[in-house]
């Protein structure tokens, strides 16, 4: 569609678009590189969410980020869910489509949360199969994001970065590197976050997420409710240094601040993207 912003997501900073900001985005058109929405929020048949997304889409490249594909589940792949996503893709022509390295359902019961997988050969083969099926059905590449995790399975034998890299190698999927999740998981499991970034093969990294966490009883929780932490900015700068600039997103869901604050966070990410580029060049 010629009246639309290009589909391709630029290697610039973007922000997550939330319902409370629809009007503000239309009226003020913040100078961010692109927008990302939660796919499932647009699974309704009509009404306000789709109305606003239609009006905003011409002005920004758009990415669809899902939480409901349940790629790691051992239940059958949910083709009803994928059909809705496919229709949304056809309607909005997103530059990127992503979901998580996690499972959300078993025995037909959905927990609507990103539950941790054991990182084993069996899980790798299983997730690879499902990513291939999902990509085949959707007719496009999907990005898979490292989740924040609060426990590790004793049977895990593969580091998360290696699991993701091998998944990308086997399926052609991209990696959505959530730097905040790397930090949260590393702190929760006493791992080295920097080593994660330094070990991930950069060619598969197609997008980066940034967000804020909170701490409860010495466990870091990925709440998307705060500004990006200084330690996470440092990891992001390292990722940019290693991989070069990539589309980078500020995610904020709970205690949503004014749009200007999100744009300011994106501005910071943009400066690091440009600084990192200069370093890498």
């Amino acid at each position: 569609m010629t009246s639309r912003a290009a589909a391709r997501i630029p290697a610039r900073a973007g922000i997550g678009l939330r319902a409370a900001h629809y009007r503000d985005v239309l009226e003020t058109r913040p100078a961010v590189g692109w927008l990302e929405v939660h796919s499932e929020n647009y699974f309704g048949e009509g009404g306000a969410p789709l109305h606003y997304l239609e009006r905003i889409r011409p002005h920004y490249p758009l990415s669809l980020h899902g939480v409901g594909m349940s790629l790691g589940s051992t239940d059958p792949l949910d083709y009803a869910h994928l059909a809705k996503l496919k229709a949304l893709i056809a309607r909005f022509e997103p530059g990127l489509v992503s979901d998580h390295l996690s499972w959300s359902s078993v025995g037909g019961r959905h927990f609507n949360d990103l539950l941790p997988l054991p990182y084993t050969e069996e899980a790798l083969a299983h997730v690879s199969r499902r990513v291939l099926l999902a990509q085949e059905y959707l007719g496009r590449r999907v990005l898979v994001e490292n989740p924040s995790t609060y426990l590790q399975h004793a049977e895990s034998s593969i580091p998360e970065w290696e699991f993701l890299a091998e998944l990308a190698r086997r399926t052609g999927c991209g990696i959505l590197l959530d730097v905040n999740n790397v930090y949260v998981s590393a702190r929760n499991h006493r791992l080295d976050a920097r080593r994660f970034i330094d070990s991930l093969p950069g060619r598969h990294v197609a997008e980066i997420h940034l967000a804020g966490f909170t701490s409860r009883n010495e466990i870091l929780i990925d709440t998307h409710s705060r500004p990006v932490a200084a330690e996470v900015w440092a990891l992001f700068a390292r990722a940019v240094e290693r991989f070069g600039p990539r589309p980078a997103l500020i995610e904020w869901d709970a205690d949503l601040p004014p749009l200007a604050m999100l744009a300011a966070e994106a501005g910071h990410a943009q400066a690091l993207l440009e600084g990192g580029h200069a370093l890498a060049a």
């Binding site: 499932e40 699974f43 309704g44 048949e45 009509g46 009404g47 306000a48 969410p49 789709l50 109305h51 899902g66 939480v67 409901g68 594909m69 349940s70 589940s73 051992t74 949910d78 009803a80 869910h81 809705k84 499972w103 959300s104 359902s105 078993v106 025995g107 037909g108 019961r109 959905h110 927990f111 609507n112 949360d113 539950l115 997988l117 054991p118 084993t120 069996e122 899980a123 299983h126 609060y150 426990l151 399975h153 049977e155 929760n188 409860r216 009883n217 466990i219 929780i221």
Partner: protein
């Protein structure tokens, strides 16, 4: 080593099953899941939550989440059966209107997400009796023997109003005007007319049903209101 399938079934049973002691790490997942699903219910049912109080609502939500688990990766589908579920709760017998308030709130939720569709074009109709306009896909009908709209309205403000529970029942249509959900009272005849069109009657049959429900119904005025509010759309030909 358990298979991935066994591990997932065991994890679900341990972390989301009733009441067993679990580790603090597992507790994070239990909390996340119950808080987000309870939040999804509270988003759809704010008046129910207010009527029973936050604490009771949270307990109600926990029981509902266990007995009527989410069946979809899309949270908008979650909570459909809360009305029926509440009918089985003995503690709620003192609030007999509560399930109908829940039904009204679910209708609002469905109206918000319902499909867009053009209003029925009566200028194209040659034979009104056999015309088959359909209830708009984003419109819902709710009937109650209690004054549920007054109850709903009294709980929109910070200071709850007083409602006379003996004020009689409501026949309501919930629909979208522009993008906002609106609730309007109907007469019994108007309700029967719209219900008939929802249930595949011809316009002639629906008007008969309307007059049977309310012999004194002013049919032209009723049709006028229905057209003004764009409550009808074109039916699919049989």
């Amino acid at each position: 080593m358990p298979s991935l399938r066994e591990a997932q079934l065991a994890f679900a049973e341990r972390v989301f099953g009733a009441g067993r002691p679990i580790s603090p790490r597992e507790q994070v997942y239990r909390n996340n899941v119950f808080i987000s699903l309870t939040g999804a219910l509270a988003d759809v049912y704010p008046v129910v939550q207010r009527l029973v109080g936050e604490k009771f609502f949270t307990q109600l939500a926990r029981r509902y989440i266990r007995s009527h688990p989410s069946r979809s990766g899309n949270l908008h589908d979650f909570g459909r059966d809360l009305t029926r579920f509440m009918l089985q709760i003995p503690d709620l017998k003192s609030l007999p209107y509560l399930p109908d308030v829940a039904a009204l709130e679910w209708a609002c939720h469905e109206a918000f997400h319902g499909a867009d569709a053009p209003a029925f074009d009566f200028t194209q109709v040659t034979d009104a009796q056999d015309a088959r306009p359909r209830l708009h896909p984003a419109a819902r009908l709710v009937a109650s023997r209690y004054p549920v709209l007054a109850i709903w309205e009294a709980n929109q403000e910070n200071e709850p109003g007083v409602v006379d529970l003996d004020a009689g029942g409501d026949w309501l249509v919930v629909f979208r005007r522009e993008l906002l959900v609106e609730i309007q009272r109907l007469t019994p005849g108007e309700f029967a007319l719209l219900a008939g069109l929802r249930d595949d009657m011809t316009l002639g049959e629906a008007c008969e049903a309307a007059l049977a429900a309310e012999p004194a119904l002013d049919l032209p005025a009723a049709m006028g209101r229905i057209v003004t509010n764009a409550l009808l759309t074109t039916g699919v030909s049989p």
